[in-house]
């Protein structure tokens, strides 16, 4: 596989690691989620453009739409948490009170 794919895959791995391992802020996990989405988008676009598979070229766009939706959802959850506790520290999420 060419170097480009290797590069993008590395970006994906790094962002995945960042999503699953974070110290205190919930926001960093959301940022890494965006990174995952970005790398997926670039990889899909590159593959489709390289193989001239025009029919599937709507897939990255739909992927982008859904990424925006889930980013909004994640941000709203962050805002709810931040409303209750003032910060978005993860150690606050130990009480499942509603």
């Amino acid at each position: 596989m060419s170097l480009v794919y290797m590069n993008i895959m590395t970006a994906f791995m790094v962002a995945l690691a960042g999503l699953l391992m974070y110290r205190s802020h919930l926001m960093s996990s959301l940022l890494c989620l965006e990174g995952i989405m970005l790398s997926l988008f670039v990889m899909a676009s590159l593959t489709i453009l390289n193989s001239h598979f025009t029919l599937a070229s709507m897939m990255p766009i739909i992927l982008l739409v859904f990424a925006a939706c889930e980013a909004a959802l994640g941000l709203s959850l962050l805002v709810k948490v931040s409303n209750t506790y003032g910060t978005d520290y993860v150690q606050n999420l130990n009480l499942l009170q509603c």
């Binding site: 690691a17 999503l19 391992m21 974070y22 996990s29 993860v90 999420l93 130990n94 009480l95 499942l96």
Partner: protein, 606 residues
């Protein structure tokens, strides 16, 4: 022939001149009230000429000068109808207004806005004359609304007083409800007869005139304070006494009755309308006379007396005697205005005391006012050969001998005796006995304005009935023969009322205070009508609208059914089924480790 139309128009034009010179220097001097009074006296004299021509030759006239607009098939123009009714009413109104203007030069002397007061009174007079001389319903409506507006402005003259503002608003609201009936009648005439002119309406003579006559009856109920829309009239006594004398005794409140009299060719063919008007008038006259029996404010007693006499006029229309009702309008104006002016003289002399329980002994202290009050009360109760006799006694006789509702007749007779009772009450409490007012005496009735105006109306109360009824052209044949007891009926009940009231009033001199009986409370609280209607109806309206619009629609349907219910169910369910403890980092870390291990394992697997 030539002078008729020109003098009519001169009369109407003369009255508008003081209004048009408002912006000039004339309005700002202290001479303006005298100027207005003199203008009205000149207008009275010029209006006597067409009246005398009418009396001598029976000539009527319609002046139709300016074509205003034509809407599809109806033509609206400025037209004045000078017939029996307007010819007789205009001089009477101008005479009474002349006296009231002179009186208010004394009464409102210390008011800084006296010029504005006179302007308002003059505007009222102009709109009243527009109403009376109108030949089509549109012009009449202009005058109708005009008197309503001026009534509002004049009742709320002392606008710093909350009661006065409430009373003015009450007058407007009740009049508005009557205006609905007026508009209904106008709409019916427009769509069915294509006319707003009286001549065309009467020429077409519709047979199904129930609807417009009920509309006009509603309009008269509102404007003339018949039962159901009556509370505004006693509340209107918040205005100054000249306002009460002019508007709410002689001129404005008879506008409703005048409207019904104008439509007498329609009412004389409609038995249903006559019965309705008869019963309405009978209820009004009895109820308001009953309310007048226990009031303590001298102006309110006279206001209820006015209301009772208006009910009597309505009864007269109900027995198909419009000309008698009109005669009663003209004679009633004299003594009622004079009664109000006497009460104004008493009020001012006792330093703004209006409660009759705090007056007394004025018989010797104010002889002139005493004389006028007693003459006015006697004229009101129908003492033979005074003014009221010529109209009131004829009405009672006509009612007694006509084929009519016996209950309404009985009510009217009882109300006649009540008239005598409350008149005696006023005389007894205000004039006779020992003084009950504070000892610092400010009694003074020596002013020539006061004395001349009351003198003029006193002569009117004594002789106007005789003069008018001997000079008008006879329109109906009065009932000439009747049994002895029917002829004496009015006089008998009146004398009975006098004796009864005097006896009871004498008995009340030395009683200890006992708590009011239920009947007394009924009469004193005006039959609980204002208490119920002014509180219950708005409360129910507001509660119903709050419940339906705010609670039901807004709070429940729009907010609660979908959005809040969804969120409530979600939270409760998630609390119920969850078994998580948080620990996100641990879960993420285990996920990462699992993925890494599985990727490494399955990469090197074959």
């Amino acid at each position: 022939m030539n002078l008729f139309s020109s003098f009519t128009l001169i009369t109407l034009l003369l009255l508008t001149i003081p209004i048009m010179t408002t912006s000039s220097d004339n309005y700002k001097t202290s001479n303006y009230p005298l100027y207005v009074k003199t203008t009205i006296s000149y207008a009275f004299i010029t209006s006597m000429i067409p009246t005398m021509m009418f009396i001598y030759t029976g000539q009527e006239m319609i002046i139709s000068n300016w074509h205003w607009l034509t809407i599809q098939t109806i033509k609206l123009s400025l037209s004045f109808k000078m017939d029996y009714f307007s010819m007789m009413f205009v001089p009477v109104a101008l005479f009474v207004t002349w006296s009231i203007m002179e009186f208010s030069m004394w009464y409102m002397h210390s008011d800084p806005n006296i010029n504005q007061f006179f302007k308002y009174l003059l505007l009222f007079l102009i709109t009243m004359l527009i109403l009376v001389t109108a030949n089509n319903l549109f012009q009449l409506f202009i005058g109708w609304e005009g008197v309503g507006i001026m009534s509002f402005l004049l009742i709320g003259w002392w606008y710093g007083r909350a009661d006065a503002n409430t009373a003015a608003l009450q007058a407007i609201l009740y009049n508005r409800i009557g205006d609905i009936g007026f508009i209904l009648a106008m709409a019916w005439f427009l769509t069915n007869l294509n006319a707003w002119d009286f001549q065309q309406i009467f020429a077409l003579n519709p047979n199904d005139s129930n609807m417009p006559l009920m509309g006009l009856a509603l309009a008269a109920t509102g404007k003339s304070a018949q039962f159901g829309l009556h509370p505004w009239l006693p509340s209107a006594m918040e205005g100054p006494t000249p306002v009460s004398a002019l508007l709410h005794s002689s001129t404005m409140v008879v506008a409703g009755i005048f409207l019904l009299i104008r439509f007498h060719p329609l009412t004389e063919n409609n038995k249903f309308a006559q019965s309705i008007l008869l019963c309405l008038g009978a209820i009004t006259t009895l109820f308001t006379a009953m309310c007048a029996l226990t009031q303590n404010d001298i102006k309110k007693i006279i206001a209820f007396s006015t209301s009772s006499q208006l009910g009597l006029m309505m009864v007269t229309i109900g027995i198909n005697q419009p000309y008698l009702a009109f005669l009663h309008i003209c004679t009633h104006a004299f003594f009622k205005a004079m009664l109000f002016m006497c009460s104004g003289s008493i009020i001012h002399s006792l330093n703004d005391e209006q409660d009759i329980r705090k007056m007394g002994g004025l018989f010797k202290a104010m002889p002139f006012t005493t004389t006028a009050l007693i003459i006015g009360s006697l004229a009101l109760t129908g003492m033979p050969f005074l003014t009221g006799f010529y109209s009131k006694d004829l009405i009672i006789e006509a009612a007694n001998t006509s084929y009519t509702n016996a209950w309404a007749l009985l009510m009217t007779l009882i109300a006649t005796s009540f008239t005598a009772i409350y008149s005696t009450r006023i005389i007894f409490f205000a004039l006779l006995g020992q003084p009950r007012f504070p000892t610092l005496i400010t009694i003074n009735e020596n002013n020539p304005f006061l004395m001349n105006s009351i003198k003029r109306l006193m002569i009117g109360s004594l002789f106007a009935g005789f003069i008018i009824s001997n000079n008008i052209p006879p329109m109906t044949v009065p009932q000439l023969t009747m049994p002895y007891h029917l002829k004496m009926m009015a006089l008998t009940v009146t004398i009975l009322g006098f004796i009864l009231a005097l006896e009871i009033s004498n008995m009340t001199q030395n009683l200890k205070f006992n708590y009011s009986t239920n009947i007394f409370k009924f009469s004193n609280m005006l039959g609980y009508f204002p208490t119920i209607m002014h509180r219950l109806t708005p409360y129910m309206n507001l509660t119903m609208s709050q419940k339906s619009a705010s609670s039901l629609l807004d709070l429940i349907w729009l907010e609660n059914i979908l959005p809040k219910t969804t969120s409530l169910i979600q939270t409760k369910m998630s609390i119920m089924v969850t078994n998580q403890k948080g620990l996100i980092k641990l879960y993420f870390l285990s996920f990462l480790v699992t993925i890494a291990v599985s990727m490494i394992l399955f990469n090197f697997h074959e």
